[in-house]
């Protein structure tokens, strides 16, 4: 019975959603003058950042990114609080499958290259597609591979805490530096350089590298917490 009510409601919702979105033309500009044009032109001319998405994420709407990093931090904190046990010993790591020697040696070879790829992606975040979130998640997948393959591979919890705390604090401190030197939070305080140069965009590149470290540490922490949970 409940199923049919839900199906009926969903049919109504789907009808209205479709009828709204079909009014919005696909592949054509929808509005006359939005903030989009300002973002694109000042990303190229003022900030000298090639990747406009990076410019938006780190500078124009950098406050969102700070909030988003905080959301990840909070969810890592909340998770370890939710799964907290009074006993101090953590459970054995759950093994998904016993790894064969091919996987073991393959993982060992892949891990450095995955980490290198991740670092490349977040260092070049302002030049090419990618950036802090992407690079951070790629590094986290590398660690995930190691954690799944080797049962006795472990990441020092204190080191993770250090990385995420220092990266997060530096993010806020760079923001505050903008506030005290230029008068608004997260404003660029360094010279912007030339378009398509590695050292372009002022603080944008630095902030994205910090975001990368923080996201990687956060995600590894989340995986580590849930992996050491024994049902």
């Amino acid at each position: 019975m409940k199923k049919y009510i839900v199906l009926g409601l969903l049919a109504v919702l789907g009808y209205y959603l479709m009828s709204i979105f079909l009014l919005v033309d696909f592949g054509l500009p929808h509005f006359a003058h939005g903030v989009k044009d300002v973002y694109l032109s000042s990303s190229k001319n003022i900030l000298k950042v090639s990747n406009a998405v990076t410019a938006i994420v780190v500078n124009f709407r950098g406050f969102d990114t700070l909030g988003e990093v905080t959301v990840l931090f909070l969810s890592a904190t909340a998770m370890s609080g939710i799964l907290y046990k009074k006993r101090h010993d953590i459970g054995e790591r759950s093994i998904l499958f016993p790894a064969s020697s091919i996987i073991r040696s393959g993982a060992k070879m892949l891990f450095p290259s995955i980490t290198l790829l991740g670092i490349y992606v977040f260092i070049h975040g302002h030049l090419s597609p990618g950036g802090g979130f992407q690079g951070g998640t790629i590094i986290a997948t590398g660690f995930l591979l190691m954690l799944l393959t080797y049962q006795n591979y472990s990441v020092s919890h204190n080191r993770l805490v250090w990385v995420e705390s220092v990266a997060g604090m530096l993010f806020v401190i760079i923001g505050l530096a903008g506030y005290f030197m230029k008068g608004s939070f997260l404003e660029n305080v360094l010279p912007v350089g030339e378009l398509n140069d590695l050292f372009s965009g002022g603080v944008i590149g630095i902030i994205y590298v910090l975001v990368g470290f923080k996201v990687a540490a956060e995600l590894i922490g989340i995986i580590y917490t849930i992996l050491h949970e024994k049902g």
Partner: protein, 123 residues
């Protein structure tokens, strides 16, 4: 050419709405807690697809100014939905992780994942 775009419009919007509806259906009717969380993440995927599709520009390029590939700003797709989706994906992952840890904790207490057997509170 116009027709081509029309078909693509209906197909992409339609599948995004379909993902949203399928996810909602799963989250509302299924009994297993993991299925509910799965439904939520499918719904999020649908919304992300919708947002990117709304920012698409026909014949536009990715919003990246690269050397040797000079293109003007009005030939680029809208970068704002992309930035928003970037944020939304990461937030969605955080929510999913918290939800799954709550699922594990509920399993620890009740030894079951069926929502109709975990009813100490009124639903």
């Amino acid at each position: 050419m116009e027709k081509y775009l029309d078909i693509l419009e209906i197909a992409i919007y339609g599948s995004a709405v379909a993902l949203i509806l399928i996810g909602l259906y799963g989250a509302l009717t299924k009994k297993s807690l993991i299925k509910i969380v799965l439904g939520l993440s499918i719904m999020d995927s649908g919304i992300h697809l919708m947002m990117i599709a709304l920012g698409y520009l026909k014949g536009g390029t990715a919003p990246i100014f690269s050397k040797g590939f000079e293109n003007s700003a009005d030939q680029m797709v809208d970068p704002i939905p992309q930035a928003l989706v970037l944020t939304a994906i990461v937030i969605g992952f955080g929510v999913t992780a918290v939800a799954l840890s709550l699922v594990i904790r509920l399993y620890r207490h009740h030894d079951t994942l069926r929502i109709d057997e975990i009813k100490n509170l009124k639903w």
